[in-house]
């Protein structure tokens, strides 16, 4: 179902979401675009553009247009699996134990998710909602969620989603999708929830020309990408070079700071800790973000099987680009470029992968 709205229509969609959901949307915080909760419609970063490069970020106010900015620097996973999340509380009272599971039933709506992040959500869903071991904490948030997808108008210098299986019409999980035309917006309702929301607002149906125009806009995006990664036989080529001395070169530069894994929309590794009270009557089980760059990550019986930074970087890149294929039949990288922007050592995953496949 296709509809056409102006900026007032956009505002009414936003307002309507706020009636039912905790809306999470991009906003400016200290000069950076970040997903945040409870953002006012007037505080959406309309008209901004991002300049991003290896270890470089700058925000500019540019045009009279709206969705000219790109994906925020943080990701959906920050809200779906927050960095320190309480799973379980065990209490002891009069010799009896009681268990409380902290399943989160909040209804979240994301307003403005780009196609790379929708693809990342699909990747996370494949991890957390698989048939064998579905995660009830993640599932609860996912089932209650509303997603508004938005088309990018340009690619930044770090974007390469077009090489990582993100296609122009992909809209995984989105309930509605918005494409900016000239001063107006094409709204595509993709789910039952999406249709219901839009129908309630009594907005105009889109014409065939509008739909065609949106398609052309999307196609125009392709010519703005500056990065390219050849993914044909990528896995095989990387396996071939797994012992190549070039990994050492990256290992010398990498700080093992974990920035890349933490801004990555698909990195999901975690650690679980039991936190006990000093009176020994309470124990809390907390799941925290972990990272394959941490030294304790691969420590088994006090022995770290990946003791060097080189081996940890290799693990990360190989997991994204090769092992993930073995595990899940897709890449673990969606080409959003966040890890490139936020690496203090200017290590660029697309450049390094391209190099490693050719060696």
């Amino acid at each position: 179902m296709f509809y056409i709205i102006d900026v007032k229509g956009l505002e009414s969609i936003y307002g309507s979401l706020k009636e039912t959901f905790h809306v999470i949307s991009p906003t400016l915080k200290d000069g950076i675009l970040l997903y945040s909760e409870d953002v006012d419609f007037n505080s959406l970063p309309f008209g901004y553009t991002q300049m991003e490069g290896p270890s470089f970020y700058q925000l500019l106010q540019s045009s009279g247009r709206y969705f000219t900015y790109l994906r925020p620097s943080n990701t959906l996973k920050y809200f779906l699996r927050s960095p320190n999340m309480k799973l379980l509380t065990v209490k002891r009272s009069n010799g009896e134990l009681s268990f409380e599971y902290h399943i989160n039933h909040r209804k979240l709506a994301f307003f403005d998710v780009r196609r790379c992040d929708l693809k990342a959500l699909q990747t996370l869903d494949n991890v957390y909602l698989n048939d064998r071991f579905p995660d009830p904490y993640y599932r609860s948030l996912r089932e209650n969620m509303f997603l508004v997808g938005v088309d990018c108008q340009t690619a930044s210098d770090v974007c390469f989603c077009h090489c990582m299986g993100v296609y122009l019409e992909d809209s995984y999980g989105a309930d509605i999708f918005i494409t900016e035309l000239d001063g107006r917006f094409l709204v595509t309702a993709l789910s039952k929830k999406g249709v219901e929301l839009v129908e309630k607002l009594h907005i105009k149906k889109a014409s065939v020309e509008d739909i065609q125009k949106a398609k052309e806009k999307r196609e125009g995006l392709l010519s703005t990408f500056k990065k390219y990664l050849d993914t044909k036989d990528l896995k095989e080529n990387l396996y071939r070079n797994i012992e190549h001395p070039y990994w050492e070169e990256i290992g010398k530069r990498c700080l093992s700071c974990t920035n890349c894994t933490q801004v990555c929309p698909t990195c999901f590794c975690f650690d679980i800790k039991e936190v006990n009270s000093i009176e020994l009557d309470l124990s809390e089980r907390v799941v925290s973000w972990d990272s394959c760059f941490n030294q304790t990550f691969a420590t088994v019986h006090k022995f770290n099987i990946r003791d060097t930074i080189t081996s940890r970087y290799r693990q990360w890149l190989m997991h994204k680009m090769a092992y993930w294929q073995d595990q899940f039949g897709e890449f673990g990288c969606v080409g959003c470029g966040r890890c490139i922007t936020w690496c203090p050592a200017k290590i660029d995953i697309q450049v390094e992968t391209a190099k490693l496949r050719e060696l």
């Binding site: 950076i32 920035n259 933490q262 000093i278 030294q295 304790t296």
Partner: protein
């Protein structure tokens, strides 16, 4: 559980952390504080299940005293940058002691310092080190709880960056502030970067971190790496003492 709290060359600030969590600690009926000069008038030096030691060893008297404490304690925990690394006073270890002494003191004869200020672990076996200047008081509660439960303590080997991103911060090193976060142990909750100020390493160097890599980044951006490290409370920490020596040469 018999607890002792001891002070060596230091500012007393880490002992104050006990006051922040004293109520919490005393919830446990198992804890008896036997020796804590800063907190109580009646103290008994006998044997201890756990001794918390603040400060560095910088006099001959302290060399002797730390051995006595070690012999009397089941567990010895050094607390704070002075005890763990040598503290701000260990900057002298990288300078000429005699020159320094004559410049600073009028009556050199009254002065009985050793030429170096050293961490506790340079003298005796330390079971656990609590980082920070000052320490994070909640870590004390965690240690005591773990000893009561006989639960093994995990040594923190994550950089500040892990806590920093978990708090939702963006990387200020990328945005142009000199930050020692990537080579510094976490535990502070990324306090400084959360206020847009670069980490200056008060929790001390992280073993196995990429000292050379960060040095290179500081160099490219025109920041003084040597100054950042040498003016720190932790320059004499065993984890990068050798690298710091190389910086000066």
């Amino acid at each position: 559980m018999r607890v002792g709290v001891f002070k060596f060359s230091s500012c007393d600030g880490c002992q104050l952390a006990f006051f922040d969590v004293l109520e919490e600690l005393l919830k446990s009926r198992e804890i008896q504080i036997e020796f804590f000069l800063e907190a109580q008038s009646i103290n008994r030096f006998d044997t201890f299940d756990v001794s918390f030691v603040e400060g560095s060893v910088s006099t001959e008297e302290e060399e002797e005293r730390i051995r006595q404490i070690r012999e009397s304690s089941r567990y010895l925990v050094s607390i704070g940058a002075c005890a763990v690394s040598g503290g701000i006073q260990s900057i002298r270890n990288f300078l000429d002691f005699e020159t320094l002494k004559n410049e600073v003191y009028n009556y050199v004869d009254l002065h009985n310092s050793l030429p170096t200020s050293r961490p506790i672990s340079d003298y005796v076996k330390v079971n656990y080190e609590v980082r920070g200047c000052p320490i994070n008081a909640f870590e004390l509660v965690e240690i005591v709880t773990s000893i009561i439960l006989n639960k093994s303590l995990t040594v923190n080997l994550n950089p500040v960056c892990v806590e920093c991103k978990a708090k939702g911060n963006i990387c200020i090193l990328v945005l142009g502030s000199p930050c020692l976060g990537p080579i510094t142990a976490s535990g502070c909750g990324a306090l400084c970067p959360s206020f847009k100020r670069g980490c200056y390493g008060c929790f001390g160097p992280l073993r196995g971190s990429n000292f050379e890599g960060l040095k290179q980044i500081f160099k490219e951006r025109g920041w003084d790496f040597q100054e950042s490290i040498l003016s720190s409370f932790n320059s004499y920490n065993k984890n990068f003492r050798d690298e710091v020596w190389k910086l000066g040469s």
